[in-house]
């Protein structure tokens, strides 16, 4: 702070409180809606305070789902989302850290070409090449499988670059010492590089878990069997299927359940989250 201006401080507080309220508004409304019964939505506007049906709505969604919309119980969809998010996060970290190790610590022909191949994935988000990618996955028989949900998404230039940066800051003396002590490359990787990049791995994991959990278009395309629906893609089907009259209290309960895991990760691991966010954008 430069100077003491109580008026300005008050204004700043008011701005922030207003901002926090605006940011929280949609979630509050969704939460309130998820605690009411179906009939409460017939009478004009949505109520502003929670109703008595919280436990009932959530247990119905988790246990049984909405039978008319053909979506499975939310617990199943959350499990699918969890498996997909973990596969994507762990898969991306595993293949990226190995690639970065190869690129930083070895000299081999076509090293530059390999680097560029990885770099180019940055320019090819799923959204711009949906149709042919879907074709490949269908040809490989990966539709309706966890492999089909996660493997096409786990190539990562960003994560590879991040680990490359981390490795470049690790002093050469460590590598020399390891080599003098007779450590081979994999031993060096396991005993020195992995422990030294532990916090980077954790920070990246937080970001990638959220990324994986929130996937929408891809699961929508590759899952046609309701056994593999993920929750984020499932909500849409649910609000669509109940012809013209979505059961808002149940849709909103599902939306809350879809938000809780990633939001809990961000709030619970805020420090790692911020670190991961800043690092992946370098």
């Amino acid at each position: 702070m430069i100077e003491n201006r109580p008026g300005l401080n008050l204004l700043a507080h008011l701005t922030l409180i207003f901002g926090v309220c605006v940011v929280a508004l949609p979630v509050w409304v969704a939460f309130v809606a998820s605690t009411h019964g179906a009939t409460d939505f017939m009478s004009g506007t949505i109520p502003m305070w929670p109703g008595p049906h919280l436990v009932e709505n959530y247990s119905q969604m988790l246990g049984a789902g909405v039978s008319t919309s053909g979506t499975p119980p939310v617990a199943t969809m959350m499990m699918n989302s969890l498996i997909m998010a973990l596969c994507i996060a762990i898969g991306k970290i595993a293949i990226s850290i190995l690639s970065a190790f190869a690129i930083v610590y070895f000299r081999f022909p076509f090293r530059g070409l390999a680097f560029w191949c990885i770099f180019i994935t940055l320019m090819l988000p799923v959204e711009v090449r949906i149709v042919p990618t879907f074709q490949v996955v269908a040809d490989l028989g990966l539709l309706n499988s966890y492999a089909g949900l996660s493997i096409p998404l786990i190539a990562s230039a960003t994560a590879t670059f991040l680990f490359r940066q981390v490795f470049l800051t690790i002093p050469d003396e460590l590598t020399e010492a390891a080599r003098i002590d007779g450590a081979g490359p994999m031993k060096f990787f396991r005993d020195i590089l992995l422990p030294l990049s532990r916090t980077n791995i954790a920070a990246l994991f937080v970001i990638l878990f959220i990324y994986g959990w929130n996937q929408y278009l891809w699961p929508l395309l590759v899952t046609t069997s309701s056994d593999y629906y993920t929750i984020v893609a499932g909500i849409k089907r649910m609000s669509d299927a109940v012809d013209g009259l979505p059961q808002w209290h149940l849709v909103m309960a599902t939306a809350m359940l879809a938000m809780i895991p990633p939001v809990a990760v961000v709030i619970g691991m805020q420090r790692l989250f911020v670190k991961g966010l800043v690092e992946t954008e370098k």
């Binding site: 901002g19 320019m123 050469d172």
Partner: protein, 292 residues
């Protein structure tokens, strides 16, 4: 560049193998297919394909729906970027004044990052629901008849708000980091010279924040163009009357629903070029840093 390296020749390829395999199978091959298909046309039964050169691209250029989609994308991306960055900057400047309470405010503002775009869309769709939503109720009090199902501008406003809302936390975090990197001595000196808070903001803080602002500008445009598919699909589905049919949504719709492969592939190629340009801009100029 490392001075100390390992000499194995086979091992690095084994280490790279999983990444390269996935890149080839799921990135490079499909991208090449999109490029190939963009030069082909299937007949009505999908039995024969013929090489048509740039005809698919030429058709896009003459297609009113596609030109509309370009315009919609531009309006959408610019609106999301300005709205989200504007709000975030105000909040970041306010937090920058705080000493003790900045942490709690930050926690309360960053969590929307974790909400999926599709879920963000559903939440705002509900708030703005013409029959039971609270916003149409509030707007009716001031005499505005909100209906995003029939009004093009209402639909656009809805998807812009939902998309910008989700992005506020991201912009906020980067603006706060940018503000904290500005040396306090500069602002103190200006204060001693008699510059008020507003003057200090526009003459010192904002110019020194330009690297962050420029970086966020690129990131937000990329976000609005490519990561908002979920928002659109969960709410307006491109309607009403194509009013929110952004390019990414149109590629999906033409390819999967309309089964117009040649056109969809040509649109994919156009999008790839756009990402290419944006990536080059990001790497060339953001690295250099816009500074004084």
């Amino acid at each position: 560049m490392k001075r100390t390296i390992f000499r194995n020749q086979l091992l690095p390829w084994l280490l790279l193998a999983p990444q390269l395999a996935i890149t080839f199978v799921f990135f490079l091959w499909p991208a090449a297919q999109a490029v190939r298909q963009s030069f082909l046309r299937e007949d009505a039964f999908g039995t024969r394909t013929s090489f048509v050169g740039l005809a698919n691209f030429e058709k896009l250029w003459g297609n009113a729906e596609y030109l509309n989609s370009l315009q919609v994308t531009a309006v959408f991306a610019i609106s999301v970027t300005i709205l989200s960055m504007g709000l975030s900057l105000i909040l970041a400047v306010a937090v920058d004044r705080m000493i003790r309470s900045s942490r709690i405010y930050t926690t309360l503002l960053v969590w929307p990052y974790a909400v999926a775009p599709a879920v963000a869309g559903i939440l705002w769709w509900f708030i703005f629901n013409p029959t039971i939503g609270i916003m149409p109720y509030v707007l009716a009090q001031v005499g505005y008849d909100w209906n995003h199902i029939s009004s093009k501008s209402d639909a656009m406003t809805l998807v812009v708000i939902a998309s910008a809302w989700k992005q506020i936390s991201y912009n906020f975090l980067f603006f706060v980091a940018g503000l904290q990197a500005i040396p306090a001595s500069l602002r103190e000196a200006a204060a001693i010279d008699g510059a008020g808070p507003v003057r200090r903001f526009f003459d010192i803080t904002f110019p020194l924040l330009s690297p962050t602002t420029f970086f966020l500008l690129v990131v937000n445009i990329v976000y609005a163009m490519f990561d908002t598919f979920g928002v659109i699909d969960a709410t307006t589905e491109g309607g009403p009357a194509q009013a929110t049919n952004i390019m990414v949504y149109k590629v999906y719709f033409d390819g999967f629903v309309g089964q117009n492969m040649g056109s969809s592939a040509a649109q994919s190629v156009v999008l790839m070029m756009l990402v290419l340009v944006l990536t080059v801009v990001q790497f060339r100029y953001v690295e250099k840093k816009v500074e004084y």
